[in-house]
Amino acid sequence: MMSRVEGIPPAEVRIGLRVKARIATIDGAPQVVFDPA
């Protein structure tokens, strides 16, 4: 799936980073995004 990691500078996102899913509202619709765990 495509999503994105929020709550962290983009340059610090790494493959293997532990994350936790969250339902965010994007353009008025619910979408899955991730935060660092």
Partner: protein, 383 residues
Amino acid sequence: MARALKGKVAVVGIGTAGMGEAPGRSAIELLAEAALAALDDAGLSLAEVDGLFAATSVHAFPTLSVGEYLGIRPRFFDGTNVGGSSFEAHLLHAAIALEAGFCDVALIAYGSNQRTAGGKFVSFSEPYAWEAPYKPRVPLTAYALAASRHMHVYGTTREMLAEVAVAARAWANLNPQAFAKGPLTIEDVLASRMVSDPLTVLDCCLVTDGAAACVLTRADRARDLRKPPVYYLGAAGAQWHRAISSMPDLTITAAAESGPRALAHAGVSIGDVNLAMLYDAFTINTILFLEDLGFCPKGEGGRFVQGGAIAPGGKLAVNTNGGGLSCVHPGMYGLFLIVEAVTQLRGEAGERQVRPCDIALVHGNGGALSSQVTAILGSARTV
């Protein structure tokens, strides 16, 4: 069965127009200029064209628009659009149509004025519902994801990616038609503007104007035309996904299927290939296709290109026109791969001529590493 097409048809004419910048000319005007140049190269007239193959970024019904503009009434036509690989697919479809007698003179043509018309990548690709909310920079994001994964799994480095751009520039410096010229180092690529991590602007193809065309006939007629025929030996396409988020493995493209099938149809092995024309929309493409087509093992593409291995004088001639990275990339680039392969197989490439050059592998890519179409072309010595 598909092998029955080997040597039965040939490319007899090639043409280009508006390479780089062509201010004031429309996409279809450029396409028509290239078509007429290709027909002149073959010594054929527009009135003889009865098979028309076209795809563009700006025409919903390309064979209708192109046929009308050229004033022809083709009895066979195909507007298959699989992005930049459309023209390798057209090559296969034209070979089938010619051999089956559906047409006698096939014209494949493309044109774009995307640079002078706006300077941005032009695409009418529909947004993908499961990706669009996250606002990916299409197609950049897709290729950056593949590059990141390749680096993570196989230890490929940004320096290895940069080596692909440096090799392309070295070839472009030998090509009078190339748009981007001048010295380029690995350090230059690494230091250029980051546009989608890990890809810098110099890891990305050019945004140019340009048009290209080629003409095919059956082999019996090809022998009597103006230029030495370049024979169709085999071709195959494969597609495993549409959107990058549906790609089964970000490091393996469907070239792993299209390449072996095309080689089998042609009855040649990868070691027989003198020239590899690989669709290099981004530096990661060349590395992925070198692996998936079998020039090196999976994961070794980055190390394969190091030390100038695909630059002039290297161990494998790759993208000798300078590629999409440094020669020309007007939205969809696949037809320019064919033009360069034919130029090389005829021995008309001047300072960048590959010797010997009897078998060329042409590999088109479309979408987000989605459509993969491989074609094998050969000189008269191969049939």
